[in-house]
């Protein structure tokens, strides 16, 4: 499952899709919205995507990670729109026979998403003003 959606992420469902009888490990990464952006306080973030391209880019990253690390299953969901503090903006779940590959693949995927997937975010400040973070 690779999805970009406005709805809150269902991490339990994501992990359920990743479970595999050949897996000894599942590693899940969630990116969550922090109360601070640098020294500035934020109340939420607004995510925007170039959706068709972003989906293709995530697919390409996941395909590459599966080959490179030999993992069993990978599922990724990225949220767009308004995401409040403590909520997930992205969740990545990876299963593999042994744990090392699941950790490495999961970290590789989030690093690559941050570098290569056309998604942008705005910090929403306590006064309601929103500012692009770039």
């Amino acid at each position: 499952m690779i999805r970009i959606q406005e709805e809150p992420l269902d991490v339990e469902e994501l992990i359920r899709s990743t479970r595999n009888a050949e897996a000894g490990a599942i590693v899940t990464f969630q990116g969550t919205v922090r109360k601070h952006s640098g020294s500035m306080e934020v109340t939420s973030l607004i995510y925007e995507s170039y959706k068709e391209m972003a989906l293709n880019a995530i697919h390409a990253i996941v395909d590459e990670a599966m080959v490179r690390y030999g993992v069993l299953d990978v599922n990724v969901v990225h949220r767009i729109g308004l995401v409040n503090i403590k909520e997930d903006s992205v969740a990545i779940s990876v299963s593999s026979a042994h744990r090392r590959e699941a950790f490495e693949a999961c970290e590789y995927i989030i690093d690559s998403i941050k570098k290569k997937v056309p998604i942008w975010k705005k910090d929403v400040k306590p006064d309601g003003e929103a500012e692009w973070r770039d």
Partner: protein, 81 residues
């Protein structure tokens, strides 16, 4: 030929629009179209540096030549996750 140009993130705000259909000369490259947008068209301000771009949903080289109906996207450095 006609191409579609899409703007995202802060570049969309700078451009003041999300998308437009442009008439460009046959054989135009990505770079030449970006220069054209930056310098020759009024009402658009693309200050972002670096300005990133993608052709038909793929990152590409600035020398890539467009074909009719291609989709060019302009946006700032990505910051997902």
């Amino acid at each position: 030929m006609k191409i579609t140009v899409k703007y995202f993130g802060s570049v969309k705000d700078d451009a003041g629009l999300e998308m437009e259909i442009m008439e460009v000369p046959e054989g135009s490259s990505v770079s030449s179209i970006i220069s054209m947008i930056k310098e020759e068209r009024s009402g658009l301000s693309l200050r972002k540096n670096p300005l990133m771009f993608a052709l038909n949903q793929n990152f590409c080289d600035g020398n890539r030549v467009l074909a009719d109906n291609d989709e060019l996207a302009l946006f700032p450095v990505v910051s997902g996750g």
